[in-house]
């Protein structure tokens, strides 16, 4: 499987912003730590990472933990992460649990905290501003 890298775009003189859209199928075979590495390697290269199916709560918790251990002054100040907020109507966690399903799959956007800024967010729309480094 080819690695997701940003080597080509990172060196471009007019430095655009690379966006990686990672399918659920691609994430499926990975362990939690592999998923977190994939995300953080991308984000630390200045990319915006979009996950088709998001992470489980446990993986989100580990993502926060690993992000914290990697923050360093003037180099990496952490991540911005966005999913649609759950409303009462869309909250199916009880049903999901009854049905033995994993957490509802949800589109997730992750980027460097200093480059990704959420402008607006509701149950059906995430609007964000991406800036260059």
């Amino acid at each position: 499987m080819p690695e997701v890298t940003s080597d080509e775009s990172a060196d471009e003189p007019d430095g655009g912003v690379q966006i990686d859209l990672i399918s659920g199928a691609r994430m499926e075979g990975l362990t939690s730590m592999e998923k977190i590495r994939l995300i953080l390697d991308g984000v630390r290269d200045g990319n915006i990472v979009i996950l088709e199916e998001g992470l489980s709560p446990d993986e989100e918790s580990k993502l926060i933990e690993v992000t914290m251990t990697e923050i360093s002054p003037d180099d990496f100040s952490g991540i911005e992460i966005e999913t649609y907020p759950q409303s009462q109507a869309t909250d199916q966690s009880l049903l999901d649990r009854l049905m033995g399903r994993e957490s509802a799959k949800k589109l997730t956007v992750i980027g460097p905290a200093n480059q990704l800024e959420t402008l607006h967010k509701d149950e059906t729309l995430i609007s964000a501003l991406v800036s260059r480094k």
């Binding site: 709560p57 446990d58 918790s61 914290m68 002054p73 100040s77 966005e82 907020p85 905290a113």
Partner: protein, 213 residues
């Protein structure tokens, strides 16, 4: 009859004590930075043990190491509930030391504060997965509760099936909006309070006893 009841009473008293003494529930106080977690932890500790847990501050990330107060006995309706309270650092996905420079801090101090904060948050997240029996989730009711950190943390807590009480803090402030907090997490009970002024603490203790007793 009398003898049997007495015996039963004393047996259940012993087992009660055995249970509460051997393993008080460990209750993590979680929430975003500056919500008033330490102010609440200090109030609980002062009300029931006489001393405090740690320093409070308007500068975010004042708490950078989880602090534990063990064996806090809360009495409700003649019943004793013993808990360990753990005051945790405010959870976030980003820490930029430059924000502390606005609080008239030297760069060295700001960098140290941010490093300690990140270590503390990592530790608090780890504990939440491994080491906590229940959660008091504190929110500043004057701010928007629909943040990504709140959504993720409540999701993490729910996925572990931990009992959780949501506290809408700072009701003494005019901008406080308890209903907005309740609407954000309709699947949970929201209790309003002012940890600073000590408003509505009776209900908070009733609920702590009910949820974690």
């Amino acid at each position: 009859m009398g003898l049997l009841t007495n015996l039963r009473d004393s047996v259940s008293r012993v087992t009660d004590r055995l249970f509460t003494d051997s393993e008080p529930k460990r209750i993590g106080i979680y929430g975003p930075p500056n919500a008033g977690k330490t102010t609440l932890a200090n109030r609980i500790a002062r009300d029931w043990t006489g001393d405090a847990v740690g320093p409070e501050s308007h500068i975010p990330h004042e708490t950078r190491r989880a602090r534990r107060k063990e064996g806090v006995e809360i009495e409700r309706n003649g019943r004793k509930v013993t808990i360990d309270i753990v005051d945790t650092p405010g959870v976030t996905t980003k820490v930029d030391y430059k924000e502390f420079l606005d609080h008239e801090m030297e760069k060295d101090d700001a960098v140290r504060r941010s490093r300690e904060a990140t270590e503390g948050v990592a530790e608090a997240m780890h504990w939440l997965r491994e080491d906590v029996d229940g959660v008091i989730y504190v929110l500043d009711s004057t701010t928007d509760p629909f943040t990504q950190v709140n959504t993720m943390l409540i999701g993490i807590i729910e996925s572990q099936d931990l009992p959780v009480l949501i506290l809408a803090n700072k009701t003494d402030l005019p901008e406080s909006n308890v209903q907005r907090v309740a609407n954000a997490f309709p699947q949970h009970e929201t209790i309003p309070l002012s940890a600073l002024e000590g408003e509505n603490m009776d209900e908070v203790y009733d609920k702590i006893a009910e949820y974690f007793g």
